[in-house]
């Protein structure tokens, strides 16, 4: 069974129904979208079963010629890095659909956008052809733009346009770099190709490689986002509807970190080493800056948005440590951040549906009124902080360990980021749920059954991954091991060259 293609394109089945059935009642539209996305999740479980944990390379590869005249292929495959990102995607989308009960306008378009997004994100995670990746990578912009712009709050149009332009700016240079690689490939192999595994063997002069690294890096750094390219993120997150925030945090940001591993490291190992310190410093700045700014926020959603900047800094730091622990930790953290922050955004959304405010000084004392919501938030916040026994702990530990062995100072600085994270999240928790209860909120309803169905899976996953991270690490490690080795070999070669030359 072509697991990957089915997973990628299954959500699309719902789209024509939603777009062209004009009079579709809202509940049916929700049902269609939910059905399409849950089926995708079930299929992706099959994919998980079909995945062979012991092989490090790409598996379940499917290949077809798409455009012969330019050597563009439909080429998809999965490995330890992408596997759990795919699982995360298929899990998050149905949860987001469940949680979007507050959307009442243009429901069918909303659902269609969600499904389009799912396909685009899955395609981006699974493409092994650079141009194919680019196409999916770009295709997710417009549905996201609509999601923020149509169903967001406050300055949604501004946020949507800002989001679109920032990411377009980044990816425009990515396209030029991809075409440049293609052109070089036709020079060296006699035939142009966009295939990742072939382009890996391209020999490029160091200066060219560095330029290309930067072009790729900017595109992904905007998505991650790394300071100073992060300014779109707080706006987009804050104004997006709950579901939009969840998708942004859990999935879109991951396309950036994923791209760094999949393309920057693999295609330009030499340049990756060359820029490793600079990138690590940017990541550290992100960790600490994100945490400090998060502390100063008065809007709960914005606070979580900045916490994302901080958390994603960990991921990038881990990747660019070039140690196996760091890399595995980075990959694990991508998944963990998706779940924890996704859950936090979901819960904040549910809270907002009730209180109609996210201002910390207007909230307070809600733990007595909505105990289930408060408890769930507690678990998610603790997970995000990195409490042992919950999912984030293992990832952060691995990242810090990996960084520490590579560069002590970086490791120590990263550890302070964890402390800061604990401060702002606990503080936010306390201000939201404890203290004197506000009279206004008497009689607010606690989580409904549908909402519990949306929240519970995330909490369960947090616990399971916290207790038994081996489930993921067993499948991630072979791949990260291989990538780290590839990169190390290049460094080794360079040293030899330098020694030989001197």
């Amino acid at each position: 069974m072509p697991w990957l293609s089915v997973t990628i394109f299954l959500p699309l089945i719902g789209v024509p129904i939603l777009l062209f059935w004009r009079g579709i009642p809202d509940p049916v539209a929700r049902g269609v979208a939910l059905l399409a996305s849950t089926t995708t999740f079930v299929v992706s479980l099959g994919l998980l079963g079909a995945f062979d944990a012991s092989t490090p390379g790409y598996q379940l590869v499917e290949r077809a010629t798409w455009v012969r005249s330019i050597g563009l292929q439909y080429l998809v495959g999965v490995d330890g890095v992408s596997l759990f990102l795919v699982m995360l995607t298929t899990l998050i989308i149905p949860i987001g659909i469940l949680a979007s009960g507050s959307v009442t306008r243009n429901v069918r378009l909303f659902m269609a956008c969600s499904l389009l997004l799912e396909t685009a994100v899955l395609g981006a995670f699974l493409s092994l052809d650079l141009l194919l990746f680019f196409v999916f990578f770009e295709a997710l912009l417009f549905p996201m733009y609509l999601l923020i712009g149509m169903w967001g709050s406050g300055r949604r149009v501004y946020a949507a346009v800002k989001f679109f332009l920032f990411t377009m700016f980044g990816s425009a240079f990515l396209l030029v770099a991809i075409l440049f690689l293609f052109s070089r490939a036709s020079g060296q192999f006699g035939r142009g190709t966009f295939e990742l595994t072939k382009l890996q063997h391209l020999s490029l002069p160091p200066a060219t490689e560095r330029w290309l690294f930067l072009a790729f890096f900017i595109a992904f750094a905007v998505k991650v986002p790394l300071v100073p390219l992060h300014t779109w993120l707080p706006d987009a997150h804050t104004e997006a509807p709950t579901k939009g925030s969840i998708i942004l945090a859990a999935l879109l940001l991951k396309t950036g970190t994923y791209g760094l591993i999949r393309f920057n490291l693999v295609l330009f190992p030499e340049a990756s080493h060359y820029f490793a310190n600079a990138v690590s410093i940017l990541a550290l700045v992100g960790i600490i800056y994100g945490a400090i700014v998060a502390m100063m926020q008065s809007d709960l959603k914005r606070l979580i948005a900045y916490s994302s900047v901080s958390h994603l800094g960990f991921v990038v730091l881990g990747i660019f440590a070039f140690t196996q622990q760091g890399m595995s930790g980075g990959v694990l953290q991508m998944v963990n951040h998706g779940i924890s922050t996704g859950a936090l955004f979901l819960l904040v959304g549910l809270l907002y549906d009730r209180t109609h405010t996210r201002q910390l000084d207007e909230l307070g004392g809600l733990a007595d009124i909505t105990p289930l919501l408060a408890g769930s938030f507690m678990v998610a916040a603790l997970s995000s902080i990195g409490l042992p026994g919950l999912n984030n702990f293992v990832g952060e530990f691995l990242v810090i360990l990996g960084t520490f062995t590579a560069n002590r100072a970086f490791g120590v600085l990263a550890a302070t980021g964890v402390v800061l994270g604990a401060i702002y999240l606990l503080w936010a928790y306390q201000r939201t749920w404890h203290g004197p209860p506000n009279e206004r909120y008497r009689g607010l309803a606690d989580l409904s059954r549908v909402e519990i169905t949306a929240v519970a899976p995330l909490l369960v996953v947090m616990l399971v991954l916290g207790v038994y991270p081996k489930l993921l690490l067993d499948r991630i490690n072979p791949t990260t091991n291989k990538i780290v080795q590839q990169v190390q070999v290049v460094r080794h070669d360079q040293r030899l060259l330098a020694r030989g030359g001197g």
Binding site: V67, F134, E138, Y145, L165
Partner: protein, 484 residues
């Protein structure tokens, strides 16, 4: 000498000529309420010409002593121009029927212009090129001024006319000099003559090329000869603008392609940089001015100037060893551009029934009032900006690829174009923003079935070409016009 004429090769042109005479005569005998029947009549003629063109696929025929050549390049563009003509006819029916216009004359003039377009890609002789170009332009001057009582339309016609005639005169002067230097008007022979030793006439030849290029630069609205386009586009009736922005512009480009890649190719080192400058300035000026527009047609006009800049880019790559690729990129871009642009104008025609001022603000709330049109328009705007999943992405892609393969200046040009594409997003997104994100008055909009059909068809085509770009990209490389 008794030259034999290959009637099969010129069958589409003959059918069109016949049709336009018939339209003019029949119009006289129709009573006013039935004047619109000129449209189905014209449509039948265009359709017949279309079928006749299809029989020429794969042909390679020359007639009129080598000055008229029907080859894959020509057939590709003939099919394209006739398709555009059909679409413009669809858009015109309600527009001209509901306004008080001379319908018969309009269709007659439109068909004449189409005839010129169809002749253009086959013209391999300076004289033929000149006649085709005039046949495209002269009727267009009149239909641009067709809203007789509207001073804005008068002005559109006058500006278009003055610039058009001036540019033809400059171009003709260049042509006369080229004839003097090479002793021939046939493009292939000019190419041969210019490849040889020119002696002291080198400078004269270069000056002549510059004159001809300037003449065409007016036609395709390249900077600094672009200023007529926004005024003319805004003032002319919207279906006419759609025609000018797609077919008439493409006709200019086909003429330019033949001249540059056949007749003047050996001087590429001289005119390549000229086109590089044209391209950079045209796209940058077009995009920057478009940012400030509030009127939809003017926005599309400046966008079409910017797009002309993208189409000029492959010309700048001639002589860098990627001629065939650059040529194919230019042709592909022209075709893809025409599809998305026509679609956008179809939506504008529909909206123009509601508000004739056509401000961008008038698009507010279209998503609710006419979801199909709004969806289509969104697709066109995204496509014009070159973002997947739309055809526009491939258009830009092929141009980028040619640029990067050329290396050196090509890469620089590609980067400039990338920056411009990002800038263009600002204004292309303005219309979807109005349609989708801004709440407008709730008043269901009824658009003519034919117009909706055109919009839906174009939107489907834009998506289809994205999914399978070889639909269009397959043909240009088959052209035998440019040697590899």
């Amino acid at each position: 000498m008794n030259p034999t004429i290959d009637y099969h090769a010129i069958l589409p042109e003959l059918i069109l000529s016949g049709t336009l005479v018939v339209v003019l005569v029949v119009d006289v005998f129709l009573r006013p309420p039935r004047k619109w029947l000129a449209m189905p009549l014209s449509f039948a003629g265009v359709l017949a010409a279309f079928v006749a063109t299809l029989t020429l696929i794969g042909a390679d025929r020359t007639t009129f002593g080598g000055s008229y050549h029907v080859d894959p390049f020509a057939v590709l563009f003939k099919v394209f121009f006739l398709s555009v003509a059909m679409i413009v006819l669809f858009l015109s029916l309600r527009y001209f029927r509901e306004g008080r216009y001379y319908q018969g004359e309009y269709y007659f003039l439109l068909l004449s212009s189409v005839l010129g377009c169809v002749m253009m890609p086959s013209s391999r002789d300076l004289l033929m090129l000149f006649i085709s170009l005039e046949l495209v332009s002269a009727p267009a001057f009149l239909i641009a001024a067709f809203r007789k009582n509207d001073p804005r339309s008068n002005e559109a016609g006058l500006k278009f006319f003055l610039i058009g005639v001036l540019s033809s005169a400059v171009m003709l002067y260049g042509m006369s000099l080229i004839y003097g230097v090479t002793g021939s008007t046939n493009l292939y022979e000019i190419g041969k003559a210019l490849a040889g030793h020119l002696g002291g006439q080198e400078t004269l030849a270069l000056a002549a090329i510059l004159f001809v290029v300037t003449g065409f630069a007016f036609k395709v609205s390249a900077f600094p000869f672009q200023f007529w386009a926004p005024d003319t586009y805004e003032g002319a009736p919207v279906p006419v603008t759609a025609f000018l922005a797609s077919a008439s512009k493409a006709a200019g480009f086909t003429g330019l392609l033949q001249l540059m890649f056949v007749a003047f190719i050996h001087q590429a080192a001289f005119w390549g940089p000229v086109f590089a400058a044209f391209s950079i300035f045209t796209m940058s000026i077009g995009n920057l001015v478009a940012l400030q527009q509030r009127q939809a047609v003017r926005l599309l006009a400046y966008s079409s100037i910017a797009q002309a800049g993208y189409m000029l880019l492959p010309f700048a790559l001639a002589g860098h060893g990627v001629d065939k690729e650059a040529f194919a990129a230019a042709v592909t871009y022209i075709l893809i551009y025409a599809i998305m642009n026509l679609g956008a104008f179809a939506v504008v025609v529909a909206v123009s029934r509601k508000s004739s001022a056509l401000l961008i603000a008038d698009f507010a709330g279209l998503m609710r009032n006419a979801p199909l049109l709004a969806l289509a328009m969104t697709i066109f705007m995204v496509s014009l900006a070159g973002v997947p999943p739309t055809a526009g992405f491939w258009g830009k892609f092929f141009v980028f690829r040619a640029g990067i393969d050329a290396g050196g200046i090509g890469i620089a040009l590609a980067v400039v174009m990338v920056v411009n594409s990002v800038i263009s997003l600002f204004y292309y997104l303005a219309i979807p923003r109005q349609m989708i994100l801004v709440e407008g008055p709730e008043e269901p909009m009824r658009s003519p079935a034919l117009v909706t059909f055109v919009a839906a068809l174009a939107a489907a085509a834009v998506i289809a070409v994205f999914v399978y770009p070889d639909l269009i990209a397959h043909f240009p490389p088959l052209s035998t016009l440019v040697g590899s």
